[in-house]
C-alpha cells in the first residue's frame, strides 16, 4: 500500500518501537500478544521487514493507540520514556507517570503547533558544559552569564516562568502530578522539539520557582542529559549538584542578594524573621531557600534555618503580618493546572477542530480526554468566539 510504503519500513519500525516503549511493553510480550515471534518483531522495528497492515492494527491495539496516530503525517513520535529509562531516571510509578505525561504534552503541543503553522522561536544560548572544575563555582559563574545573556541584570526576577517560556523559547508545562508524587520537575532536550521542562503544579509557587531554576541549570549546563528532579533525592550526581547551585544562584545572584541582605540588616541590626520574610518576598523564593542561600554565601551562620525550624519556624501567619495582603501571591498556574487541558492547548485544539485539520476522535486521543470532555473544551471556546465576533461587529 502506498500509505505504508510512503513512510518507509525503517521509519515505521522506529515509530513502532517508540510506541511500544512509551506504552511500557516488552518486545517478547508484544510479539506474544499478536502471535508473532520475537525475532520477527525485532526485524520489523529495525526496518528490515515491512509491517503488514493487519500486524500494524494488532500492534497499535496492543500499545493502546490508533493506527492513525502511527501513520498520520503530522504526528510527532517523541521517545521520552525510553530516553529517561536509558538515563536510569525512571525508577518508580510516579516517575513513569510524570515522564509519560511530559511525553504526551510535548507530542500534542508540537503536532497542534505544526498543524496551525505556529513557529516557536528558540532563543537558546550555547550550553556551557560542566566537565571540568568545581561545580558550585561553575554554577555561580554560569548563572550570572545567563542573566547577562538574557539581559536581565542581577535584580530579583518577577516571573521566571515567562522568562523561560517567552525569553528563551523553552517549552514549559506546569501540570499536577499524583498527590503523593515526589517528582518536582523534568527536563529534556531534543533537536526536533527543543528544550522542555515540566514542573509539578501541586507545589507552591516558591518551590516551583526553585525547581524552574534547577531545570534551567540543566538547560544551560548539561543540556543533552534528560533529568528528573525529585523532592527526596538523597545522592546527588555532579549534574544535580550543579543544577541545584545554578538554580539558587540564578534566582538570587550572590552580589545583589548579599547587598539587599546587608541593606536590610543595617536597619534590623540582626537576622530577624521580618528580614527573611522581606528578602524572600523580594526574590520570589521560599523563606527556607532564602536562609539556605544566605548560609551558602556565608552571610549567616550555617544551621540558621535549622535554628528557625527548632524555634517555631517562620510561619505564613508571620509573613502575612509583615507583608499584609502581598503575602498571598497570585498563582494563576494553579487554575490552569486544574483544567483538564491547559488554556493554550485548548485554544489550539479548538482551532484545528474548527479548521477541520483534526477530527473529534483524533483530538480526543491526542489530548487523552474523553469525547464529551473534548466537546466541552471546544464549546467553551466557541462561546467566547461568538462573543468576540459580536464585539468586532459592533466595532465595524
Amino acid at each position: 500500500m502506498a500509505d505504508l510504503n510512503e513512510i518507509g519500513a525503517q521509519e515505521m519500525g522506529r515509530r513502532l518501537r517508540v510506541a511500544r516503549e512509551n506504552a511500557g511493553v516488552r518486545q517478547g510480550e508484544a510479539a506474544q500478544i499478536i502471535g508473532m515471534s520475537r525475532p520477527t518483531l525485532v526485524s520489523i522495528e529495525q526496518g528490515a521487514r515491512p509491517v503488514r497492515i493487519q500486524e500494524l492494527q494488532q500492534l497499535a491495539r496492543c500499545y493502546g493507540i490508533s493506527v492513525n496516530a502511527l501513520l498520520r503525517r503530522e504526528a510527532v513520535h517523541t521517545d521520552l520514556v525510553p530516553r529517561f529509562r536509558k538515563a536510569q531516571q525512571v525508577e518508580n510509578t510516579h516517575t513513569v507517570e510524570a515522564v509519560q505525561l511530559f511525553n504526551n504534552l510535548i507530542k500534542a503541543d508540537v503536532e497542534l503547533e505544526n498543524l496551525l503553522g505556529i513557529h516557536r522561536r528558540r532563543n537558546y544560548p550555547t550550553a556551557r558544559g560542566i566537565h571540568h572544575g568545581d561545580v558550585l563555582s561553575l554554577a555561580e559563574k554560569h548563572a550570572v552569564e545567563l542573566r547577562g545573556w538574557i539581559g536581565i541584570g542581577l535584580g530579583p526576577i518577577s516571573d521566571i516562568f515567562s522568562l523561560i517560556e517567552f525569553g528563551l523559547g523553552i517549552r514549559l508545562y506546569q501540570r499536577r502530578l499524583a498527590s503523593s508524587s515526589k517528582v518536582a520537575g523534568l527536563f529534556t532536550f531534543d533537536e526536533q522539539v527543543g528544550a522542555c521542562i515540566l514542573l509539578n503544579a501541586n507545589h507552591p509557587l516558591p518551590r516551583r520557582v526553585q525547581s524552574a531554576g534547577h531545570e534551567l541549570g540543566h538547560f544551560f549546563g548539561t543540556r543533552e542529559t534528560t533529568e528528573v528532579l525529585r523532592e527526596d533525592e538523597r545522592f546527588l550526581s555532579r549534574d544535580d549538584r550543579y543544577a541545584n547551585a545554578f538554580g539558587r544562584a540564578f534566582v538570587s545572584p550572590a552580589d545583589s542578594f548579599a547587598e539587599r541582605f546587608r541593606q536590610l540588616k543595617e536597619i534590623t541590626g540582626r537576622t530577624t524573621r521580618r528580614l527573611i520574610i522581606l528578602l524572600a518576598h523580594q526574590y520570589n523564593i521560599s523563606r527556607q531557600a532564602c536562609v539556605l542561600r544566605l548560609e551558602d554565601l556565608g552571610l549567616v551562620k550555617k544551621g540558621t534555618w535549622e535554628w528557625f525550624e527548632h524555634n517555631g519556624g517562620i510561619t505564613d501567619q508571620q509573613a502575612r503580618e509583615v507583608l499584609g495582603s502581598a503575602a498571598d501571591r497570585t498563582d494563576p498556574v494553579k487554575s490552569d493546572a486544574d483544567r483538564l487541558v491547559s488554556h493554550r492547548t485548548s485554544l489550539m485544539a479548538h482551532a484545528v477542530w474548527k479548521r477541520e485539520l483534526m477530527s473529534e476522535g483524533q483530538l480526543a486521543e491526542l489530548l487523552r480526554v474523553g469525547r464529551v470532555e473534548l466537546r466541552a473544551i471546544v464549546d467553551q471556546i466557541e462561546l467566547e468566539q461568538d462573543e468576540s465576533d459580536e464585539f468586532l461587529k459592533l466595532l465595524g
Partner: protein
C-alpha cells in the same frame, strides 16, 4: 426542515461512529432508541475497541456498548479486505481521520450502508468518499418517527435534551430553530453546545470543562 426525513423511508443498515454512541449513551434512552429504529445497526469493531479504552470506561460508554451488543441491538463488524483498502487510505492520507471514523466510512462505502457521523471533519471526509451520499446525523435518529412513537413525545424530547446537555451532541446549523422549538427556550439555555449559542441567548452559561462530564441522567 425536518431532520427525521432522510431516515424515514430508509431501511438499509446504519453504521454508527463513536460520537453517535456517546450521544446515545448520554441521552439516557439510547437502548430504546436503537430498538425503535427500523434499521439494522452496525458498529465497526474498531469503534468498539475505541470505547473499550479507559476514558470511555470512565464515562460509561463502554458499558453502554456492551449492553446494546448483548441485547442484540447492534452488530459489531470487522473490516472485510475490500473495506480495508478504503480504511487504510482514510487513516494514512493527509488530511486523515481517526480509525473509528475511517472504519465507519469504509464499511458504508462498500456495503452501501448509511454512516451516522456528527463530527465536521468526519462528515466532510465521508461525503468525499461516498461520492455524494450524505451521512446522517445523530439528531436524525433521535427524531425518527418510529423513535418518537416508541418513546412518546415527552421522553423523546427529554432524550434529545440530555444528548445536547450531557453529551454535547453536535447538530446541523439548519436544525437549530427546530431543536429549540422542541426542547423549549429554557432548556436550550442549558445546552451550550448549540450552534451560535451566544447570538441566540445573549449571554452564556459557562462551560465547566472539568466537571461537566458527570454521570448521565436517569431515563
Amino acid at each position: 426542515m425536518s431532520f427525521s426525513s432522510s431516515l424515514v423511508d430508509f431501511r438499509d443498515p446504519l453504521v454508527l461512529d463513536a460520537s453517535v454512541l456517546v450521544n446515545l449513551h448520554a441521552c439516557g434512552s439510547g437502548k430504546r432508541i436503537l430498538a425503535a429504529l427500523p434499521n439494522a445497526m452496525v458498529v465497526p469493531e474498531i469503534v468498539a475497541d475505541e470505547l473499550k479504552h479507559e476514558r470511555s470506561r470512565r464515562g460509561g460508554e463502554y458499558a453502554f456498548l456492551d449492553s446494546i451488543s448483548a441485547a442484540g441491538l447492534i452488530m459489531i463488524e470487522s473490516l472485510a479486505d475490500t473495506e480495508d483498502v478504503v480504511f487504510r487510505k482514510l487513516i494514512a492520507s493527509s488530511p486523515s481521520i481517526d480509525d473509528g471514523e475511517a472504519a465507519t466510512i469504509a464499511i458504508a462505502a462498500y456495503k452501501r450502508y448509511l454512516p451516522v457521523i456528527d463530527d465536521r471533519k468526519g462528515r466532510t471526509c465521508a461525503e468525499l468518499t461516498l461520492e455524494g451520499r450524505t451521512p446522517a446525523w445523530s439528531l436524525e435518529a433521535f427524531r425518527h418517527p418510529a423513535v418518537i412513537e416508541a418513546l412518546g413525545d415527552e421522553i423523546a424530547i427529554r432524550s434529545l435534551y440530555f444528548a445536547l446537555r450531557k453529551g454535547r451532541m453536535q447538530i446541523p446549523h439548519e436544525a437549530l430553530d427546530e431543536v429549540i422549538a422542541l426542547i423549549g427556550e429554557d432548556r436550550a439555555r442549558d445546552c451550550t453546545c448549540l450552534p451560535k449559542y451566544r447570538y441566540r441567548f445573549g449571554h452564556s452559561q459557562s462551560v465547566d470543562v472539568d466537571k461537566d462530564h458527570s454521570a448521565h441522567p436517569s431515563p
